[in-house]
Point group: C3
Chain length 316, copies 3
Amino acid sequence: MKLSQIAILIGAEFSGEDREIKSMNTLFDASLNELSFVANTKYIKDIAASNAGAIIVDKNTKDEVPSTCIALVVESPYWEMAVLSQKFSKQLEDVNSPKANIGEGSVISPKAELANGATIGKNCHIMAGAYVGSNAVIGDNTILYPNVVVYRDCHIGSECIIHAGSAIGSDGFGFASNKLGEHKKIYHNGNVVIEDDVEIGSNTSIDRAVFGKTLIKKGSRLDNLIHIAHNCEVGEYSVIAGQTGLAGSSKLGRSSVFGAQSGVAGHLEIAPFNTFAARTGVTKSIKESGQVFAGFPFMNHKSWLKIQAKLAKLIK
Amino acid sequence: MKLSQIAILIGAEFSGEDREIKSMNTLFDASLNELSFVANTKYIKDIAASNAGAIIVDKNTKDEVPSTCIALVVESPYWEMAVLSQKFSKQLEDVNSPKANIGEGSVISPKAELANGATIGKNCHIMAGAYVGSNAVIGDNTILYPNVVVYRDCHIGSECIIHAGSAIGSDGFGFASNKLGEHKKIYHNGNVVIEDDVEIGSNTSIDRAVFGKTLIKKGSRLDNLIHIAHNCEVGEYSVIAGQTGLAGSSKLGRSSVFGAQSGVAGHLEIAPFNTFAARTGVTKSIKESGQVFAGFPFMNHKSWLKIQAKLAKLIK
Amino acid sequence: MKLSQIAILIGAEFSGEDREIKSMNTLFDASLNELSFVANTKYIKDIAASNAGAIIVDKNTKDEVPSTCIALVVESPYWEMAVLSQKFSKQLEDVNSPKANIGEGSVISPKAELANGATIGKNCHIMAGAYVGSNAVIGDNTILYPNVVVYRDCHIGSECIIHAGSAIGSDGFGFASNKLGEHKKIYHNGNVVIEDDVEIGSNTSIDRAVFGKTLIKKGSRLDNLIHIAHNCEVGEYSVIAGQTGLAGSSKLGRSSVFGAQSGVAGHLEIAPFNTFAARTGVTKSIKESGQVFAGFPFMNHKSWLKIQAKLAKLIK
C-alpha cells in the first residue's frame, strides 16, 4: 500500500516522498518498506535506531522522527495502528493457492481439513477434525490429534505431538481502546513457531504474534489447558504443567519448569534453569538461574515456606 | 403439558383448576402459563409478586402461595424442579426444521455443520468443524474459527469473532442432590446471547442459562480458556483476560477489566468501570466504580500492596 | 516381545531364562508376563512382593530383585522405561479392526468419526465432529456433544453427557529427562474409565493413565475447563467446579466437592465427604471426612477466615 493511501486511511498529516509499505512491524524490527508506530513515550528512545520507512506518532513525538523516516502524525497512534493492522491482514484462507502439499507416508483423515497452501511433512498423522490453515507448515512424523487447529502461517516442527482440541495460532488478545471505552481489534499478522520434538496437551491455546512470532523451542513439554499469549518465547526443554498461563511477550529461558496453575506476567525475561512451584505468579524478570520460586507475588521457595509457617502461627 | 400431568410426574399434591404449562421460569420472570419453584427460604418473600401459574413448594411454604396461583406441594422442590426441567427440554436438534438459512456472501465450510433451523447472517465465515445448532442465530460479518461450537438456541451478534474450540451454550453446572449424594441434572433451557462486536478467544466456555439468558454485551473482549457460568452478564466493552472464571449469575458492569486468572464468585453485582489485577478473586458485590482491586479475597489494590510489603518483612 | 530383545533395545545386562513380555506395569500390578521398573529408591521395598516377570533397575538395586524375577540392569531405569513404553504402545487407530459397532437407536452424525473397533451403545447421540477411537466403548443413552474426543481404549458409561470440546484420554504429562535436560516421552498405554451417570462440561481434559486407568466414578459432575491428570480417581457423586485441576495419581473419595479454580497436588488421597472452597490448593492427603477446607496451602476453612481477618488488620 502507498504511504499516501495509508495517510488518508488514518487521517494523518504526511510530508515527504511517497513510499510503498508492505507491512507493519515494531520499531526494532521494521525495515524501510515497513511502517511502525510509537504509542507509549517509553519507546521514543528507540526511534533513532529504527530502520522503519515511516512511523505513526502523535504531535508531541513527531520531532523525534529523523529526516530519513516519514512521520505520520495522528492523535491516537495506537488506535490508528489497530485500524491499519486490518488493512495488512491476510484473508482467512488462500482459496487460490494450490492444494495442500502432503509428504510421503502421511495419513490424513478425510475428516481433517487442510486449507490450500498448507504443507504437511512425511509420515504425519492428521486425525479427524484437525485443521491446518493456509501457508501453515507441519514437519515430519508429527501427530495432530482430533480437532487440533493450526491457524494459517503457523509452523509446527518434526516429531511433535499435539493433543485434541488445542489451538495453535489464535489471535492474541490485543486491541486499542478509545475514550468511550470501545475497542478496536489489532489484527495479528505474526504467527506461532513450534520447533521439533515438542509435545502439547489437550485444549491448550497458543496465540499468534502481533508481529514476528510466538516461539516454543525444541524439546519443550506443555500440558493441558495452558494459555500462551502473543509473542511469548518458551526456551528449549521447558516443562509447563496444566492450567498455567503466560501473559504477552514474556520469554522463558531454557529448561524452565512450571508447576500447575502458575502464571507469568507480561514482558518479563526469565533466566534459564529456574523452577516454579505450582501456582507461582511471576511478577518480575529473573536474572539468576538455578532457583526455586513459589507464591504470588513470587519469592524464593524457602521464603514462601517461612511465610506460610508464620501465617499458620497467627491462627494459634 | 397439563398441570395435572406435572403433578403426577413429581408426585405432588395439587388442588385447583388445571392449566396448560408451557415452560419453567424463575419466580420473577414466570408468567401465567409457566411453572416456578421455591427451593430456598430466602425466596419465599418473592412469591407474592410472582405471576407464575403454579409454584413447586414444600409443605412449609405452601401457605405463602396466593390463591391466584397453584401450589404443587412436594418434599424436595429443587429435586422435582430438576426432574421436570428434563420434560421441558428440547431435543438436541430439530431434525424436522427447515435447513439452515444462510445469508448472502457467507462462506460455510463443507466440513462445518449447520443444524436444521439455524440462521447465518451475511458475509459470515463458518470454518471447518464449526457447529451451529438448531434455532441458533449468527449475525452478519461474523467469523467462527474451526471447531467453534454454538449450541442450539444461542444468538451471536454481528461483527463477532470466535476463536477455535470455544463452546457457546454448553449446559450450566446445575443439579439437585439428594440425601444419598446422588445428583439430578437441571436441564438448561435458557440460552447464550452475545451482542455485536464481541471477540472471544480460543477454548473458552460460555454456559447457557437455566432460564433466560447468559449475556455478553456489545464490544466486549474475552481471551482464551475463560469460563463464564450460567446466567452471567458481562457489561458492554468489558475486557477479560485469559483463564478467568465467573461463577453463576454474576453481573459485571460496563467496561469491567479483569487481569488473567481472575475469578468472580456467584450471584455478585459489580459496578461499571472497575479494574481487577491478575488473579483477583472477587467475593462480594461492588457498588463503587473507578476502583482497582487485587488479591483473594479481593481488596483495594493499594491495600494488597501494603499486605505484600508486610508479609515480605515477616521473613527478614 | 522377548525379554532378550528388550534387553538389547535398552542395552541392559540380562541373565536368566528368556521370557515373553506382553506389556509394562507398576511393581504392584505387574504379572509374570509383564515388565516393571524401579526408578526411585522409595519403591525398592515393593520389589519383593511384585509378581513382575522382569524389573528394570540400576546396579545399586539389582540385588533386591528376587531370583524368581529377572533384573534388567541399566544406568537410567526411568529413561529406559520411557524408551520401552513406545515399543508397547498401540497404533493411533486399528485400521484393520471391524467397523464401529453401533447400538440400536443411536444417532451418529455423518460428521462424527468412529474409528474401527469402537463400540457405541443404544440410543446414544454422537454429534458432529465428535471422535471415538479404536476399542473405545460408549454405554447406552450417552451424549457426546460436538467435537468431543474420546481417545482409543477409553470407556464411557451409560447415561453420560460430555460437552463440546472435551478431551477424554489424551496422554498424561509424563516423560523421563536426562542430564542434558532432554525429555523422553512416556507413552501412556492405560486408559480413562468414566462410569455411568457422569456429566462433564465443555473443554475439559481428562488424561489417560500410564498403566491402568484414570477413573471417574458414577454420578460425578465435572464442570468446564477442568484438568484431570493421569491415574487420578474421582469418587462417586463428586462435584468439581470450573477450572479446577488434579495432578497425577490423586484419589478423591466419594462425594468430594470442589469449588472453582481449586487444585490438588499429585499422589494424594482425600477422604470422602469433604468440601473445598473455591481456589483451595490441597497439598497433603486428608484422612478425616466431613470437613470444609480453603486456602493455599489449604487449611480448615475457619482458620482461613481467621487469617484473612488478621491480614485485614495488618493494613489498618
